[in-house]
């Protein structure tokens, strides 16, 4: 899972209209992630194909919002667990990394 994919799945933990996703990504990553809109559309297309996200109508009926699916949430949790393992394994040697 790429960094952008990871943050996008986190961003879609609650339904969010498409035009707000870029802002949410920048907020979650503290300004570090600034993908282009075309890249975001390509990624959303890929995630939708993998059934990690879905489109649903917003509550007031005007427009659509994206949100994570159960499969997407499971994949996100697996990725989070993997990242935690990697950080834990790496931290054993962090003090001894060559400068």
């Amino acid at each position: 899972m790429t960094e952008l994919m990871y943050y996008t799945l986190i961003a879609l933990r609650t339904p969010i209209p498409g035009e707000n996703i870029l802002t949410e990504l920048a907020s979650l990553s503290h300004g570090r992630l600034r993908p282009g809109p075309g890249t975001l559309v390509a990624l959303l297309t890929q995630l939708e194909g993998q059934k990690f996200i879905m489109l649903q109508p917003v509550a007031d009926g005007k427009g659509w919002a994206y949100r994570i699916t159960a499969e997407g949430l499971a994949a996100l949790k697996r990725e989070y667990a993997l990242l935690q393992t990697m950080v834990r394994d790496g931290s054993e040697y962090a003090a001894r990394w060559p400068q």
Partner: protein, 399 residues
């Protein structure tokens, strides 16, 4: 006079030259013309204040995203939708800080490859048409060449070459798109600030040459279709022992059969061609009895006179050679026919093919003088000199 507010310009670039088109649109914006809409080959601009704008031509992904959803996401990043052109949407921004539309080349590569999808289809289609038009010209060059030069084959050749050129252009597009997509897959995004003037000039020249060639082709086609039974023969077939029937004398009672006009006694060979100055070549076939000659009972000169006038001596030679090669006079022992042999002594003609079946039998000769080709056949006990004398007499009557 108030300057006009709208302007149309031809989009000279190929479909795969997205970056060049972007640079061109940006240059137009700097000169005070903002893109309004873009068709297949025509872009419409509206006058505006000169501005530094960035244009991006974005290939449509094969996704369930509606245009509205996609435009909303792009708008949130500062990119405004301008126009659509086939499988491409055009966006624009005046904000120099706006993030580029594509920041991940690996994600963009499969989308970009869609540009070449239709090109392959068009390339195959154009190639098939080109082969269908060009192959008949080459299958039997000795015989087909005569038919080709004197008939409407020139149109097939021209159209075949045009379609071949179109197929090559589509293939170039496919290879360019594939090469760029591979670079993207290796992590390289395409550059956007590329020069466009060189490509613009090249395409202008090539497309204008093609347009002129297409115009000439259409003109030739109209000219070819308009020919046929016209009322004009600039150099009439000579009077004399041969009864001459001109196109103006023909009426509906004559029957057409494979280029021949038939009536009860005589047949007239008719053909017409773009390449021959006369619009109708009317030659006469008939059996003519020679003057009674007690020394040669039963002999007769059979003047199957066919006269071809061509633009150049070289084309006349081609026609004459073709007639000589396809003659069915020289019968081979194991069936079949041999071409007429070339005569070592041309008897004053530029070229001469002669079969002198000395004594009885059939004789035939094909002679070229300048741009004119003559063919004469005879049955009976005639010598070469007598055949040539008959031909010279017939030619002399026409001068």
């Amino acid at each position: 006079m108030k300057p006009k507010d709208m302007m149309r310009r031809v989009v000279w670039f190929d479909e795969w030259q997205l970056e060049q088109i972007e640079s061109w649109l940006a240059a137009m914006a700097l000169r005070g013309w903002r893109l309004e809409r873009m068709g297949l080959r025509i872009a419409t601009f509206r006058r505006c204040q000169p501005a530094s704008l960035r244009y991006r031509l974005d290939v449509n992904p094969d996704s369930k995203f509606s245009r509205g959803q996609r435009q909303a996401i792009y708008r949130s990043a500062g990119w405004v939708y301008i126009a659509a052109r086939q499988d491409i949407m055009i966006f624009c921004t005046a904000d120099p800080a706006a993030q580029e539309i594509h920041t991940d080349p690996v994600l963009y590569a499969p989308v970009y490859r869609r540009l070449s999808g239709f090109n392959n289809l068009y390339a195959i289609l154009y190639l098939v048409i080109a082969v269908m038009m060009l192959v008949p010209v080459s299958l039997d060059p000795a015989y087909q060449l005569k038919q080709f030069l004197l008939g409407s084959g020139i149109i097939s050749l021209f159209a075949g070459i045009m379609f071949l050129f179109a197929a090559v252009r589509q293939l170039v597009c496919h290879f360019q798109v594939t090469a760029r997509a591979k670079r993207m897959e290796r992590g390289t995004l395409p550059r956007h600030d590329v020069p466009y003037r060189g490509a613009l000039l090249r395409h202008k020249v090539v497309n204008q040459v093609l347009a002129i060639a297409l115009g000439a082709f259409l003109l030739a086609m109209v000219f070819e279709l308009a020919m046929g039974f016209t009322r004009f023969i600039p150099r009439p077939i000579p009077e004399g022992r041969l009864a001459v029937v001109r196109a103006a004398d023909l009426d509906d009672s004559f029957r057409m059969e494979e280029g021949m006009i038939l009536d009860s006694e005589l047949s007239y060979h008719v053909s017409w061609s773009v390449l021959v100055p006369e619009q109708v070549i009317l030659a006469e076939h008939g059996n003519i009895d020679r003057k009674a000659d007690p020394s040669k009972p039963g002999g007769q000169i059979w003047l199957e006179s066919e006269k071809y006038r061509n633009w150049t001596p070289w084309m006349a030679w081609l026609v004459a050679k073709s007639l000589a090669d396809t003659s069915q006079t020289v019968v081979l022992p194991d069936a079949g026919w041999a071409p007429l042999p070339r005569a070592s002594d041309t008897h004053g003609f530029d070229d001469l093919w002669l079969y002198d079946n000395t004594g009885e039998g059939r004789h035939e000769l094909v002679a070229r003088q300048g741009c004119v080709v003559y063919r004469l056949s005879a049955d009976g006990p005639y010598t070469t000199d007598e055949l040539l004398a008959a031909l010279a007499e017939w030619i002399g009557e026409g001068e």
